[in-house]
């Protein structure tokens, strides 16, 4: 119903109007849509799907049914994506850098290009976080301490070859500091390690910073501009380091899905992503919105692939 809707930020009013328009007969979707999350329930992918769920129902009149298919850091689900029927009623969450790094560093059973992304809707910007009582007041304090004793400072994060691992590598590349990255089995134990003093800092996201509140101090976030929920936290760019990124999330469809359906799904997600209430909810939880619709998704992926390929080599060489 909002086929021509492409520029979400320019069209907030249009959405409000569009929501009132009656649904054309036999429009897609006319039955519930299955939304497969390649991770366990309770993580960031699940939470953002839960936020999207009611808006999807409001726009389409159909339910969005969330299912979980965890395993091998998402690879179990992605390697089976193209086996589903491509009728538009099965969509799957995709995550970067996972879908780029996994095929580069292991043999996960799929190639990055096998995955048809129809929309990338937000990212959780990397954030360097320390305890509230940490001696490092600013990013410069931290870098100075790291330079005094290269490798002696530790930063916890979730997993090896993960977004947090990439963030640490980027940080080292940009600042020249050497920080020992300590991988944990998830965000919860990584944050616990930070709060308990086992590590000096944690690579997390703005979502982590939002969840931990006063217990932590965020030294910098990897965004182009400051996060609306953290107006006092500088970006790495402001401080002179070109680090922008984090863990990106979107949805993909089986490769048998017709072009028309891909576009329709992209339009629906665009509409959700432009809803001011939705944006407010997401930003309060620490997410940062981006909009990469289906038409731009392939180019955007090529750009990210080139970016991560270099990092992947460094990560592989570092071990």
């Amino acid at each position: 119903m909002t086929k021509h809707f492409r520029a979400p930020l320019a069209g907030l009013a249009a959405v409000a109007i569009a929501a009132w328009l009656p649904m054309p007969a036999a429009a897609f979707p006319d039955q519930p849509v299955n939304y497969i999350i390649p991770f366990d329930p309770g993580g960031e992918s699940d939470i953002s799907a839960r936020f999207q769920q009611p808006h999807f129902a409001e726009i389409t009149g159909q339910d969005l049914i969330i299912q979980y298919l965890p395993g091998a850091g998402g690879a179990s689900a992605w390697s089976g994506l193209n086996d589903y029927e491509g009728d538009g009623y099965t969509i799957m969450g995709t995550n970067l850098p996972h879908i780029v790094l996994q095929p580069l560093l292991q043999d996960p059973g799929y190639d990055t290009d096998d995955i048809v992304n129809v929309y990338i809707f937000h990212f959780t910007p990397d954030a360097l976080i320390v305890r509230a009582d940490s001696p490092y007041e600013t990013l410069e304090d931290f870098i100075e301490a790291a330079n005094e004793a290269p490798g002696a400072l530790t930063a916890s994060g979730s997993g090896t070859n993960s977004a947090n691992d990439v963030a640490n590598q980027l940080f080292e590349n940009e600042t020249g500091a050497v920080v020992t990255y300590i991988p944990y089995s998830g965000t919860a134990p990584s944050v616990t390690a930070l709060l308990g003093g086992e590590t000096d800092a944690a690579w997390g996201y703005t979502t982590v910073a939002a969840a931990q509140g006063d217990q932590v101090r965020t030294l910098a976030v990897a965004m182009e501009e400051r996060h609306p929920n953290f107006p006092d936290v500088p970006t790495f760019r402001e401080l002179g380091y070109d680090i922008v990124g984090g863990a990106y999330r979107g949805i993909a469809v089986p490769d048998g899905t017709p072009e028309e359906r891909r576009q329709e799904l992209s339009d629906i997600i665009a509409e959700i992503n432009a809803n001011p209430d939705f944006i407010a909810q997401m930003e309060e939880a620490g997410f940062a919105m981006i909009d990469v619709p289906y038409a731009e998704a392939a180019d955007w992926m090529d750009e990210r692939k080139a970016f991560y390929a270099e990092i992947a080599e460094q990560l592989a060489a570092g071990r």
């Binding site: 309770g42 979980y68 965890p70 091998a72 179990s76 292991q106 059973g109 308990g196």
Partner: protein, 501 residues
């Protein structure tokens, strides 16, 4: 509102109904191997958005505590832990059922679960902010030693056959290494099978190693699976209560261990019940009976695993760090409802939090009648159903349960393969428990050690990181030494006395 007001709110007809429904649903799901509390809670989360936050939370908490308790049924009646938390319940529960005391075992498990759940819940109610600090004091080093303490149980469980027990444990450790390593990212022992990248799942392994040999055994052996009780025998509630009261300290100690282990993110019910079992056995007067159907073993494991429920909510609510996987789902539900967790939660959202905690306590109490009734039905069902029906039914559940973990057939293959291997090893005298202990604890031990090594390396003080500067580790290592050395000393003394006489 004061505390009595919150209690009254939790006792409202609506909240009581949600607690009751949650406990019933949770108990049934927990009793079916493979269907986990995490999945049950995830399925119910969208429905709770339509409810008052406190009511929704009460239902989720009731499902959680019911599922942890329900895991005992399958452990006792068919030697298969319904949830990983019930692994140690098989040690004494199944031998009790085999000698005709299945009904008593179920009732003991019910009493222990209620007591454990209440102690965990009361500590959550009263000491949360203080106890949350425990989660922060436990570093990678302590997880490593805790896993080693759990592994010492192998020696305890395979008394008289230590070599076979240790070999089983090593097989389990090898199995735990399969897949992509969390620390280091290297791909190990997958033999090119991408299905193995995620590792060997604990639930398919549990079902395969414990349940398949029992199934084969049921087919191979004439007669009923379990002896029918004499007609007119009731719940044996008084008998069970008597046992629980006589073993009062075991119950309290196990509940406290359960609460503390529950607080640790990344430990959970299986470790809590293993550690408390080890402690219960070490301090018991009738040590020799443990593993052969000692009610004390059952009391310790079931009180400990239900105590982890309350314990797990402590870091979830106070620190915003989920103590267990079901807590992570509940934390997500809180976030979507706009409730921020953290130290201020008890002040800003006091009415929701306290109503929820009282609701959780009420749900725990409700487990007594609900559990006794469901347990009696489950026991009668297993006893009365002819084997020709029971075996295919359980076989079907094993496939369903292992498929449900990831909705993927590869877990079913793992289950069947480990089942056949487990049966063959059983015949050769290798029990399933050492293998399972290796599998469950291997990851925790490995990650804990490697991280201690990395952090110690970065700071140039590995031994300090591993043990020297870690008082909590001293205590755990002391327990390890006690567990390993006391039986050795006892054997030596017995031998000397024999020689003297």
């Amino acid at each position: 509102m004061d505390m009595l007001g919150f209690l009254g709110e939790a006792l409202s007809a609506r909240n009581l109904m949600f607690a009751l429904l949650g406990v019933i649903g949770g108990t049934v799901i927990g009793a079916l191997p493979g269907l986990s509390a995490t999945m049950a809670i995830a399925v119910m989360v969208p429905f709770t958005f339509a409810l008052e936050p406190a009511s929704g939370l009460i239902m989720l908490g009731a499902i959680y505590t019911g599922a942890i308790y329900g895991g005992a049924f399958a452990a006792i009646l068919v030697n298969t832990p319904g949830t990983p938390s019930a692994i140690a319940t098989t040690f004494d529960g199944y031998p009790m059922a085999r000698r005709g005391d299945g009904d008593l075992a179920v009732t003991i498990a019910t009493i222990a679960s209620v007591v454990g759940g209440l102690i965990g819940g009361l500590l959550l109610l009263t000491l949360s902010p203080m106890l949350a600090q425990v989660a922060l004091r436990f570093g990678s080093t302590e997880y490593f030693w805790l896993a080693v303490l759990g592994l010492t149980l192998i020696a305890v469980l395979s008394e008289g056959n230590l070599v076979k027990g240790l070999m089983g444990g090593c097989l389990g450790l090898l199995l735990s290494m399969v897949g992509v390593a969390v620390v280091g990212g290297d791909v190990r022992f997958t033999f090119g099978q991408r299905e193995l990248l995620g590792g060997i799942g604990i639930i398919p392994a549990l079902i395969g190693l414990y349940c398949i040999p029992v199934l084969i055994d049921m087919v191979a052996r004439p007669g009923q699976h379990l002896e029918a009780p004499p007609a007119g025998r009731g719940f044996r509630l008084l008998e069970a209560a008597g046992i629980a009261i006589r073993d009062f300290w075991n119950l309290i100690r196990s509940s406290l261990i359960g609460t503390v282990v529950g607080i640790l993110p990344g430990a959970g019910g299986s470790i809590a019940s293993l550690v408390s079992y080890s402690e219960a056995r070490r301090t018991a007067k009738n040590q020799a009976e443990y593993g052969k159907g000692a009610p004390g073993g059952l009391l310790s494991t079931e009180s400990a695993n239900n105590a982890t429920v309350g314990g797990g909510f402590i870091p979830t609510l106070v620190l915003g760090i989920p103590g267990t996987p079901p807590d992570a789902v509940i934390l997500g539900a809180l976030l979507v409802q706009g409730i921020r967790t953290g130290p201020a939660l008890f002040e800003t959202q006091g009415s929701i939090v306290y109503t929820f905690i009282f609701g959780l306590l009420i749900a725990t109490v409700l487990m007594l009648p609900v559990g006794l009734l469901i347990g009696r039905y489950a026991f009668r069902f297993i006893v009365a159903t002819p084997k020709a029906l029971l075996v295919p039914l359980i076989a079907f559940m094993t496939v369903l349960g292992s498929f449900a973990v990831h909705n993927h057939p590869s877990d079913v293959f793992v289950m069947v393969a480990l089942g056949v291997v487990g049966w063959l090893l059983n015949r050769a005298g290798y029990g399933p428990s050492p293998i399972v202990l290796g599998l469950v604890l291997g990851q925790i031990a490995e990650q804990g050690f490697v991280r201690a090594w990395m952090i110690g390396g970065a700071r140039g003080d590995f031994m300090g990181q591993l043990i020297v500067n870690r008082p909590i580790s001293w205590a755990i290592v002391a327990l390890i030494l006690l567990t390993v050395c006391l039986p050795l000393l006892k054997t030596l003394r017995n031998r000397r006395m024999k020689e003297a006489s």
